[in-house]
């Protein structure tokens, strides 16, 4: 059976991180499983975790009074879910629901933060990597906002 460290080493997000760093991060992780339809978290919940999706699909949703639950993005195998654990006020910014049976590695945000505070080099490295993910999501959101397939007028 593959160790969590080996799983992390094989993932693009953690690529080229030194073995010691992977060991530290893996120490805050555990494998989790969500049946289809299960809520992972709600908007406003404490952001005490982030996930590396290993299998399945998760929908990020925002509740809208006139439209119900609006799916704004889905994440699948290999995607990173959750960055709110990294910055105050440590609150989830949307709802998340497993669309189908989903397996993931969950990381304890407080545990990782403590290790980052103790080792600023690791903290900076992780921050750079998360900033890339946040940047990609921001670019995608901008394109989404443009509503390029809609008709004008």
């Amino acid at each position: 059976m593959q160790t969590l460290e080996a799983v992390l080493a094989g993932h693009a997000f953690f690529r080229d991180l030194p073995h010691d760093d992977l060991q530290l991060i893996a120490g805050c992780g555990s494998n989790v499983r969500f049946p289809g339809g299960m809520r992972l978290f709600h908007e406003g919940d404490p952001a005490d975790r982030f996930y590396l999706v290993r299998h399945g699909r998760v929908a990020l949703e925002i509740a809208s009074p006139d439209r119900g639950q609006v799916v704004i993005q889905t994440l699948g195998e290999g995607d990173l879910l959750g960055w709110s654990w990294l910055v105050p006020p440590y609150r989830m910014s949307c709802d998340a629901r497993a669309v189908e049976l989903t397996r993931a590695t969950a990381f304890d945000g407080a545990c990782i933060r403590r290790k980052c505070e103790a080792d600023p080099r690791l903290g900076y490295e992780l921050l750079k990597r998360f900033a890339q993910v946040i940047g990609q999501r921001l670019r995608a959101t901008r394109l989404q906002l443009l509503d390029v397939y809609g008709t004008r007028g």
Partner: protein, 273 residues
């Protein structure tokens, strides 16, 4: 160049504002050969003429399909045509997709919205000549699940094991029953399986979507001279005379609509052209 008379043989309602007109030459045994990526000028008498890509199989020259979205007076009238009615057709015009250049390598097709229409002929061709190409990937983005074109084709292609079909929508309500991806089409690029060193990418959609797509394809390692895109401009004469579709030193109707990205990259950065 005078339009030829064509008859509407069949109409497929694709989505709420878009239909596919299957038209055939009015004369007996008429045929129109075309290259995947080319367009025709469709003419409605007394109303006007619009450029519409050919969206059918190039191996079937007797009945041509044109997928039309109702966005103006002519396209609205085209969408109201009935079986048996006549229209004028000039064409085919313009450059096609790089079918020969892509032989032997992987092909990534990225379509946004109605941009799938000019790309459908290349898919028909690739699948009919499957052994000549490596991996074939279609990444298709639409506005909502109700805006996805060619559902029957998509379902059929998904049923094959030798092509990767990924569709996404920009937004979905949970009531839509959509269980696929949600997110812009560029979010599919990291999931696509291809070898960037041996890949040709063909892209069609709104210009902003194509810019974002090209940036993400390049991030995956695709060189600019392996990316082709279909440009849309105000085409009128379709033979490079009137200048309506001038795009820098080129005419989209004559030199395009399919361009190799590295040849027009500087033009795409110009704000008003």
């Amino acid at each position: 160049m005078a339009p030829r008379l064509f008859r509407v043989r069949r109409i497929t309602r694709e989505i709420h504002d878009t239909v596919t007109l299957h038209v055939e030459p009015a004369e007996r045994d008429g045929e129109v050969s075309f290259a995947a990526g080319q367009f025709n000028m469709l003419y409605l008498f007394g109303l006007g003429e619009v450029p519409i890509s050919i969206s059918s199989d190039p191996a079937e020259p007797r009945v041509l399909a044109h997928t039309v979205r109702a966005v103006g007076p002519v396209t609205n009238a085209l969408c109201r045509l009935k079986r048996g009615q006549m229209l004028g057709v000039r064409g085919p015009f313009g450059s096609g997709w790089p079918l020969r250049e892509a032989v032997g390598g992987d092909v990534v097709i990225v379509a946004g919205g109605i941009g799938l229409a000019p790309l459908r002929p290349i898919l028909y061709h690739l699948l009919a000549h499957r052994d000549q190409y490596g991996r074939i990937v279609l990444l298709y983005g639409a506005r909502t699940p109700r805006d996805l074109l060619y559902e029957r084709d998509l379902a059929r292609w998904r049923g094959r094991f030798d092509v990767q079909i990924e569709a996404t929508v920009d937004a979905a309500d949970t009531g839509d029953g959509w269980r696929g991806h949600v997110g812009v089409v560029t979010t599919l690029i990291p999931r696509a399986e291809f070898d960037p060193a041996e890949t040709t990418a063909v892209v069609c959609g709104p210009e902003v979507m194509m810019r974002y797509t090209i940036a993400d394809l390049q991030k995956r390692g695709l060189p600019p001279d392996r990316v082709y895109l279909s440009m849309e401009r105000n085409m009128k004469c379709a033979i490079g005379l009137c200048g309506h579709c001038q795009f820098g030193p080129t005419f989209v109707c004559k030199d395009g609509p399919v361009f190799r990205y590295d040849r027009i990259a500087p033009l795409l950065k110009v704000r008003e052209i």
